[in-house]
Symmetry: none
């Protein structure tokens, strides 16, 4: 009975450097209507703020409990999946969800086990490249090509609605909890962002050492790192990859 609400509690909505405080309030309201409660603000321009409170209506408790942090990294480092909302970007090699419902099913399924995050960029300029690099996936809500620009809180509402639906539908079909050994299950979880980051850095260092990155414009490292991100190794697999890399690096 307490298990399902915890899945919703594992969903974090992260707003990066929001300009209009009213959007923060409206986002909090949108979240509350769909049963979400974890709001994290990265460097908001103004917060707390009267306009945010006014727009929150019934979402006020979320504002009171909102966590304010200084970087996106701080907001998502313990998350298993981090989805950045963005207008469609061609060169962005993050794995992409084509639809909100696809994203929602994936997030809610993992949220049974560990924290997950949905990240919304600045009203005008979205996310920086460094921030995009903190994400594991992206979602572009399909929209009218003539004017695809949803208001920030509207995008939150659409996603929250999808998440709530995915959660409700999940609840009705599953029902039974399996009892595997805890450590077995953990091995199949996705790594945290931090663990993944650590592997990506080792990979970069090893290839640098081996002289494999000698053509700076070939984007070799980016492509390989994107491959590993997209491949979504389990925790166990990542630890094997890390071990293999270490073995290969040692002079033999």
């Amino acid at each position: 009975m307490t298990e399902q609400p915890s899945a919703l509690k594992n969903v974090r909505i992260v707003l990066v450097q929001t300009w209009h405080p009213g959007n923060i309030g409206a986002a909090a309201r949108a979240m509350r209507t769909m049963g979400l409660s974890q709001l994290v603000l990265v460097n908001p321009r103004r917060f707390p703020d009267e306009e945010a409170t006014r727009m929150a209506a019934g979402g006020e408790p979320l504002l009171e409990q909102a966590r304010v942090v200084e970087s996106l990294e701080d907001a998502v480092s313990d998350c298993g999946i981090v989805v950045g909302l963005s207008a469609r970007l061609r060169n962005l090699a993050l794995p992409q969800f084509e639809e909100g419902d696809e994203m929602a099913r994936e997030l809610m399924s993992l949220a049974e086990e560990m924290p997950v995050a949905l990240v919304f960029g600045r009203e005008r300029s979205g996310l920086t490249n460094d921030e995009i690099a903190c994400c594991t996936h992206q979602l572009s809500l399909p929209a009218n090509p003539d004017y695809p620009i949803l208001n920030l809180s509207q995008a939150v509402q659409v996603c929250a609605h999808e998440l709530y639906r995915a959660w409700r539908h999940r609840r009705t079909d599953s029902g039974i909890t399996t009892h595997e050994g805890e450590s077995e299950r953990e091995k199949d979880l996705p790594p945290t962002r931090e663990q993944m980051q650590h592997f990506q850095q080792s990979l970069a260092a090893a290839l640098q050492e081996a002289g494999f990155l000698n053509q700076p414009h070939a984007q070799t490292l980016e492509r390989l790192q994107n491959f590993y991100r997209r491949a979504s190794p389990t925790r166990k697999e990542l630890s094997l990859l890390q071990g293999a890399l270490k073995a290969l690096r040692q002079p033999h």
Copy 2:
């Protein structure tokens, strides 16, 4: 080719006696992002209005073309289906859609043929009985029972998103081929089984050499090979992986 846009044009969003002009503007923006254009206002408290224009952003053209009428009857008399949004009402004998997507499929399918309408009541008091009697169906968006009250324009956004999706999915059944450059496409193809096999063998040899496979029962190699199989690298990615492995194997 002109037929599908006309289906979106046959969808009418009707706002009944909206109190806050800002909600009218935000609703217009929400509509535009999802390709809807027909906005009808029944007795708006203030319209046109500065706040409506401000909140519309790119939705201004919809405000300019909005039709203002005096009764809901006037707004929907030529429609084939009229869905009233409402909090769940027990005594309401209208047929009820349980989910937004169900409503959207039904509306978009009929919109190929004739006008259809989605009706949103007053911010606080919703629709009167006479107005409900103008509807053929109702929809209550499933929401958090502790606070199910979506802002008016947020409810419009959620429904518009569902309608746009229903319309797109209808369209994509047709099937259009894109023409990318052949060589670009080839790089994105999956490798042949032979290419993949070759990589897996190199991996095995490298890890053997590096002394990483010293525990025969740990299934280390199988697990890593399964990971790479599951990750489905593209041809380009596989050739980078192969190159990286070769570089790491060379004594350095």
